[in-house]
């Protein structure tokens, strides 16, 4: 599989603090790269560096080759043409990413029109309805005029995914897309992302702290800690034969739902 995105020696620093330290990875075309790590590992900064959306004072170094285009060499207007169009992003908290004063249809249509010059409002709204149908929001034609607060958490995340999909991106970056969701809703959203990938052939970068989630979704995996990549490989390699002691410790720490620690049963002795 050829690589859609290749990061080489990517670093992010704020003054003297290097929060991402010369990391390299590849995202296979149509495949899924999982980036896992605990808080402070630099996984979210990595995604913002790709999007060129680092917070003020953040400095990016190294190379980001996106389908032959060097992203780090693009001007802001050039990057704006890539961002949201060829690379789209889905964040953890859909409520804070949506404007409460506008209907979801208006917001999806706006995202669409900003990348498709000359599209009429009517056509953009139609595109928004179609995008909402693609993410299985029922009665999309009616719900397109609803406001974000009228949607549940899972439905809002569907709206965000619809927005990301409206421009047919080649790469979707999802940063903890299911962390704020209930487990049954999480399963639906993960299924939806997989379906979107099957249908559109888009590649996915899934950023998460949840190893079980990443094991169900990712083809390739990088494990980050303190801004560095400690281990990289196929998901199967890393889950079945982790080489780095940190990866091993991380896997040991994950509570298993199908496996309980026997000693608990005797607590109090009157179970």
């Amino acid at each position: 599989m050829s690589q859609l995105l290749k990061a080489n020696g990517l670093s992010v620093s704020f003054g003297a603090a290097k929060v991402v330290d010369e990391i390299s990875f590849g995202v296979p075309r149509g495949g899924t790269l999982g980036i896992v790590g605990e808080s402070g590992s630099g996984k979210s900064m990595t995604s913002l560096a790709i999007m060129g959306l680092l917070p003020k004072g953040g400095k990016r170094e190294g190379s980001l080759d996106f389908d032959g285009t060097e992203l780090t060499a693009l001007s802001e207007p050039q990057m704006r043409a890539v961002r949201g169009d060829r690379i789209a992003m889905v964040f953890q908290d859909p409520l804070s990413s949506l404007n409460p004063y506008y209907t979801v249809g208006t917001q999806i249509a706006e995202a669409y029109r900003s990348h498709r010059s000359g599209v009429s409002r009517k056509a953009a709204k139609q595109a928004a309805i179609e995008a909402m149908e693609r993410v299985h929001i029922r009665e999309a034609g009616r719900r397109v005029d609803d406001y974000p607060h009228q949607f549940s958490g899972g439905m809002r995340q569907r709206v965000m995914i619809a927005m990301a999909l409206s421009t047919d991106p080649e790469l979707i970056i999802a940063d903890e897309p299911t962390t704020a969701l209930d487990v049954t809703v999480q399963a639906q959203i993960l299924e939806l992302l997989a379906e979107v990938q099957r249908d559109t052939g888009a590649a996915l970068i899934l950023i998460t702290h949840d190893l079980a989630v990443v094991s169900e979704v990712a083809d390739e995996l990088i494990v980050m800690r303190h801004g560095k990549v400690v281990e990289t490989g196929s998901a199967e390699q890393i889950f079945s034969d982790p080489q780095h002691s940190y990866t091993q410790a991380l896997l040991d720490a994950v509570p298993r739902i199908d496996d309980s620690i026997g000693e608990l049963r005797t607590t109090g002795g009157k179970a």
Partner: protein, 279 residues
């Protein structure tokens, strides 16, 4: 054996905002609907469910942080449902709560000494050797460096801050510890340490633990018994392994099926590979 904490037919209704008229009462939303459970000393009862299932409200009712609409709560056979004043203070000594977000439940302007000994101060209880010494002793018990007793909450990590919250809850020697999503906001390696800490403390102190969680994998590690809640009602309750391995209610099955799992064949391979390295 009588239960340490017993809830019978708990109901909590909240008025729905904006539905009250001048002469008409507000519409009622039933957050907790006829919930009953029993918690034994030295055991952990997990209340599990998705957001809005009423699990946190149930915990708050049982710990007398909010008042019931109807139903009763018994602590050690005594009806505590409507106790007030000095009697309620005694309940507060017996029942302590650890919250989800350690930082928002710790006063940022107070030193750790003040925070940990606050329950003792409020209850005007003696502190042998002084507050500092008592705080240091509690810090040691939860695995914190007692030399950090003069620090402020912001100087601690999330896991350490949660240990401070646990130390504060243990200060009065409670018989019931209510943990409301106490490990949900923590990184996985920190979470494992806190789960182990709670388990060790329970073994030493023998308190009963009411453990509120949405993460079923965590519950599997810590619970003795499990009650599954949805839409304000308990739909299934039983011994932990019974509920996880042979779920009876359709909702429990759906919930368990939705939990993401590391592929079993990868897990098996990892165990084999780890064995190989050892030998």
């Amino acid at each position: 054996m009588s239960a340490l904490l017993k809830a019978t037919d708990l109901v909590k209704e909240f008025p729905v905002a904006g539905t009250a008229g001048l002469f008409t009462p507000a519409k009622k939303f039933t957050a907790v609907d006829q919930v009953s459970f029993e918690l034994q000393a030295g055991q952990t009862l997990a209340l599990v469910g998705e957001s809005g299932s009423g699990k946190s409200t149930t915990a708050r009712l049982a710990s007398r942080l909010i008042d019931v609409t109807s139903g009763t709560v018994h602590l050690d056979g005594q009806d505590i449902t409507s106790l007030q004043g000095a009697d309620l203070l005694e309940v507060r000594r017996q029942v302590q709560v650890v919250f989800q977000d350690p930082f928002s439940s710790l006063n940022p302007r107070h030193k750790i000494t003040q925070i940990i000994t606050a329950p003792l101060r409020y209850q005007k209880r003696p502190m042998p050797g002084g507050a500092r010494k008592v705080a240091q002793g509690l810090m040691e018990r939860v695995g914190l460096n007692p030399e950090h007793v003069d620090r402020f909450p912001s100087q601690f990590s999330g896991g350490q801050a949660q240990r401070i919250g646990i130390a504060r809850a243990l200060a009065v020697g409670p018989r019931v510890l209510v943990c409301d999503e106490a490990v949900s906001a923590l990184d996985v390696s920190v979470q494992a340490a806190i789960i182990n800490l709670l388990r060790d403390l329970q073994r030493e102190e023998g308190f009963g633990c009411l453990f509120i969680a949405h993460d079923l994998a965590v519950v599997r590690q810590i619970a003795t018994r499990v009650a599954v809640m949805t839409a304000g009602q308990v739909v299934e309750t039983g011994e932990r392994d019974e509920v996880f391995d042979h779920p009876q209610h359709e909702y429990t099955r759906k919930l368990l099926a939705a939990v993401p799992r590391i592929r079993p064949e990868w897990e098996a391979a990892r165990r084999r590979n780890a064995e190989k390295v050892k030998s």
